[in-house]
């Protein structure tokens, strides 16, 4: 923690940053996003297993710093979002200072104690507990126990289902959707100025929270994130209807890996998956 605060202070004192996006605790000791505008503010910075938010979302939401760059405290997984935003022209690498944090997993349910059982599933497969890309690196890696991957079983079960069974599964899930768009708002890669669902001429996605409209919304969102989602799972965490959105994103992520050996947000200079092509792309499904 001291390391993090020291570096942050240094960044303010050397006038390199206009503000730093990090985590702080509220009066109930709950960890939440916090923007520091001064060296004094940084005293409040914390980082622990409850630092679950992907702060990269603020990079496209907050105004540019009046002077200096934007500092951001980020876990390895969140840094993938930052790289993705750079790959997608949303920010410039030179405009951010990434304070990478060695991460010892984060909680799944934020209102419950951190434990092996209450660890986010994404942490199980994390390859960037020590971030792969950063300007500064703080924190220490500790041994952690990894959670059980409950979703994997669900994915497998889904894969073995008939089309009708899959449809029924998702119908029951999407029926719950209230179209609050929290999934979109917390997503660092949902930076469109006008979401397709808010477009009314024509209305590709019914704005009503009918199951049909919910199907369209969740499918299109998953499609728009295909080959782009970096798997921070903020959407699923934010969903008040508790729809297992990560399954959709994970499926698309698996397609990206299996078909193209591509992981978005791992290399600033890598050509994006969508937007490029290979003449030898698979086409065994095309008559």
């Amino acid at each position: 923690m001291k390391q993090l605060i020291d570096i942050s202070k240094e960044l303010f004192e050397s006038k390199q940053v206009g503000y730093i996006i990090g985590y702080a605790e509220d009066k109930f000791k709950r960890v939440k996003p916090f923007v520091a505008y001064s060296s004094l503010d940084t005293e409040r910075f914390v980082f622990n297993n409850n630092s679950v938010n992907n702060l990269a979302v603020y990079l496209t939401r907050l105004p540019k710093a009046k002077e200096g760059k934007i500092g951001i405290v980020a876990k390895g997984c969140d840094i993938k979002s930052i790289i993705a935003l750079i790959q997608e022209n949303q920010i410039k690498r030179d405009d951010v200072i990434i304070i990478g944090v060695n991460c010892n997993s984060v909680v799944n349910q934020i209102d419950e104690q951190f434990s092996k059982e209450n660890t986010a599933i994404k942490c199980k497969y994390c390859q960037v507990r020590t971030p792969a890309h950063y300007d500064y690196l703080v924190g220490e890696i500790k041994e952690v126990e990894l959670p059980e991957d409950k979703n994997f079983a669900i994915m497998q079960k889904l894969d073995s289902m008939s089309a009708e069974e899959k449809w029924n599964f998702w119908e029951a899930e999407f029926e719950k959707c209230v179209k609050c768009y929290a999934c979109r708002q917390v997503c660092p890669l949902c930076y469109c100025e006008q979401c397709i669902v808010d477009k009314s001429m024509p209305r590709w996605i019914d704005s009503s929270a009918t199951t049909k409209g919910n199907f369209a919304w969740n499918m299109i969102r998953a499609f728009h994130l295909s080959g782009r989602c970096i798997g921070c799972n903020e959407c699923e965490r934010a969903c008040p209807a508790e729809i297992p959105l990560s399954l959709l994103n994970r499926k698309m992520g698996m397609v990206a890996i299996n078909e193209f050996n591509y992981r978005h947000g791992t290399d600033i200079n890598q050509p994006t998956l969508i937007g490029n092509y290979n003449v030898n792309d698979k086409e065994d499904f095309i008559m």
Binding site: E88, N89, Q90, C192, E193, Q194, P202, T272, G275
Partner: protein, 669 residues
């Protein structure tokens, strides 16, 4: 909106299976439709007048015609409606003939489908917007790529018509394959004798800028407005100083260091060379891979003897930019090298013919050099291995052509003729020699062509054997040619002294790369595609780029020359007007909602998407958005489908237009 629907019977063509009057009356009930009628021939003058009249009388502002394919008559109806005061892009066509009446038998269901098809377009047209053709200025200057006979012809035609031409040739000299030939069929006149004057004409033409030993590196822009980057390879000789005296070539001590490309590897050349004596420009090149100076830092003899101080060892490749309005591609062909395997196959060409293994098995161009008076044998008929006169010679046609399993399925078109010529030239030089030709068919279509082949057979006694050769092997200094005579039904074995293979004409090695640079399409063999095989044989899929000669398909000299003139004429048509009108089906960005992810830019095949800064009143950049250069946009709409927020839309095929079609595809109730 006031929409008129016009249903055409196309005589009986549509009317037979689609109940046109009931289609029209069903359409009359569609919302927005104020007029619907059917007529025998909508595309006829009276039919068109019917439409024009209805537009005026019913004050229509959009029209849907249910008739044939839009590929057939879209232009006709757009024109008619435009004459009557409707913007042509407010006209849509439902394809009731090719997509309905001609493919169905059952009248009720075909009629139902016809109604659906019209309704979908009625719904679409409600969202059509008037579009205005795009006007772009024309740079009246042409680029010709390739200085063979096609490129030479095209350049001269355009230059003589009064416009400037930049002619780019990758070799040190223009002339192409034609300059390698001995004599030409069917007249047997000397190839160089007819070609070199034209080469000189090019060189001396005030409006032709010859850029030899150079390659096109990059092409930007669009019809009428191309910006071309040309890589001028380092010759190591300053072309502005060189007088072409040839002293350096004579003095170059590294004499027989490399095989001459011009002589197809049958002769050698020095490190400092001009490819052939009549080369244009007559400026030598240093082959840096073999030159002593470049290898050891010593020698510089050429530099010492050059009075003009034209030798420049430090010379680098140079990039030059040229702005042109039209591009003619005339990059020609190369011969199928049969000892190299085509990539996709395990088959290594014609291994059984022993090309590359037996010295006296040669290909057509090598034989041209042997027969040429300026060639390595000075025109004497001597075989490469021991420089003796072959007494028995075998010519094999269709090596690689018309042979899908080992080569290419197409016919190389010129081999029948040049083989007859070769056999004839041989017989003229070796009177007591025997010449055999193995052929599959004789394809000698052309003025005086068949007569030419008959002459070879009847007057010069060339023995034609209809059949394929299965194997050639060496035995006791002879080449044993095993084949079959399918007419006589017997196996044939000839102990020849020399064998000439008429190998296929194939696309140049880097044709695909050039096609991609130019954004023109190409076939699976690497030949550039014409825009339409019959009606647009010299155009390409990209406006302002035309094709000439064998880069499009195997082609002989007269065909190449006429195609070159045709391409030149197309360029001249373009230069005939100061501005160009283009279909306004282009993409357009909604800058308010564009988030600047530039996925559209990534998918655009035409580099038509640019980045544009949006500034506030103080001049601060608020955001960077996509901007479509409508001159470059070809209207594919890939950007539109890629854009997650639909901030870029393709005019004419906007989202709401397609939505309307999807929304109305099914009959309801």
């Amino acid at each position: 909106m006031r929409i008129g629907v016009f249903i055409c019977h196309c005589g009986e063509n549509i009317g037979r299976t689609v109940d046109c009057p009931s289609v029209a009356s069903a359409c009359a009930n569609f919302s927005g439709v104020v007029h619907a009628e059917d007529y025998k021939y909508m595309c006829s003058d009276p039919g068109q007048n019917l439409i024009k009249q209805a537009i005026k009388e019913k004050n229509l502002d959009a029209v849907v015609v249910g008739s044939c394919s839009p590929h057939m008559h879209e232009k006709t109806f757009r024109k008619a409606c435009s004459d009557a005061g409707i913007n042509p892009f407010l006209v849509e066509m439902a394809n009731l003939r090719e997509h309905c009446s001609w493919i169905h038998d059952d009248v009720p269901s075909a009629t139902r489908k016809a109604i659906d098809l019209v309704r979908m377009l009625v719904e679409k047209v409600k969202f059509n917007e008037p579009l205005i053709p795009i006007r772009v200025p024309v740079t009246k200057r042409a680029l010709v790529i390739g200085g063979g006979i096609s490129g030479i012809q095209a350049s001269l035609d355009i230059a003589n018509a009064g416009y400037e031409v930049v002619l780019v040739e990758k070799e040190p000299s223009i002339g192409g394959h034609m300059s390698q030939l001995s004599e030409t069929f069917p007249t047997l006149d000397c190839s160089q004798c007819i070609l070199t004057p034209r080469m000189v004409e090019v060189y001396q033409h005030p409006r032709i800028k010859l850029v030899s030993y150079s390659e096109v590196e990059n092409v930007e822009g669009f019809i009428g407005n191309f910006s071309v980057t040309i890589r001028k390879k380092a010759r190591s000789v300053k072309d502005e100083l060189c007088t072409g005296c040839g002293l350096c070539v004579q003095k170059c001590p590294i004499k027989k260091v490399a095989l001459s490309d011009f002589d197809e590897g049958l002769a050698t050349r020095p490190a400092m060379y001009v490819p052939f004596p009549q080369a244009v420009p007559n400026i030598p090149v240093i082959d840096r891979s073999v030159c002593t100076y470049f290898k050891t830092g010593k020698c510089q003899l050429c530099k010492k003897v050059c009075g003009r101080e034209a030798i420049d060892f430090e010379q680098q490749d140079q990039l030059i930019k040229e702005d042109v309005g039209a591009i003619i591609v005339a990059t020609g062909y190369k011969l199928y090298t049969i000892d190299k395997k085509p990539d996709e196959s395990m088959i290594k060409g014609y291994g059984e013919y022993g090309y590359g293994k037996f010295k006296d098995v040669v290909d057509g161009l090598q034989f041209e050099r042997i027969a040429s008076a300026s060639g390595p044998t000075s025109g004497e008929m001597l075989r490469p291995s021991d420089k003796t006169t072959p007494k028995k010679i075998v010519f094999i046609q269709c090596v690689g052509s018309r042979d899908e399993s080992k080569g290419f399925s197409y016919c190389s078109k010129i081999c029948c003729m040049y083989t007859a010529k070769h056999a004839m030239l041989y017989k003229h030089k070796v009177h007591d020699g025997e010449a055999y030709v193995f052929y599959m068919d004789i394809r000698a279509g052309g003025k005086n062509y068949d007569e030419f082949v008959r002459r070879a057979i009847e007057e010069d006694g060339v023995k034609y054997i209809r059949g394929r050769v299965s194997k050639i092997y060496e035995e006791n200094g002879k080449l044993i040619v095993k084949g079959e005579d399918t007419l006589a039904g017997v196996r044939v074995e000839i102990d020849a002294d020399m064998v000439v293979l008429a190998t296929a004409m194939i696309a140049q090695n880097d044709s695909v790369k050039l096609a991609q640079t130019l954004s023109v399409s190409y076939d699976k063999y690497g030949f550039f595609n014409e825009s339409h095989p019959k009606l647009k044989p010299v155009e390409t899929s990209t406006g302002g780029i035309f094709l000439a000669g064998a880069c499009n398909a195997p082609r002989d000299i007269p065909d190449s020359v006429s195609m070159a003139s045709a391409a030149a004429a197309k360029a001249l048509v373009l230069f005939g007007s100061d501005v160009l009108e283009r279909e306004p089906v282009v993409a357009k960005v909604n800058e308010a909602t564009c988030a600047g992810c530039f996925y559209c830019q990534k998918v655009c095949a035409y580099n038509a998407i640019e980045q544009k800064e949006i500034k506030d009143r103080q001049g601060n950049v608020i955001k960077v958005v996509a901007y479509v250069n409508s001159g470059l946009c070809q209207g594919c709409g890939t950007c539109n489908a890629t854009c997650p927020s639909k901030s870029v839309e393709l005019l004419g095929f906007k989202d709401d237009q397609i939505y309307a079609q999807i929304n109305s595809f099914a009959e309801v109730f």
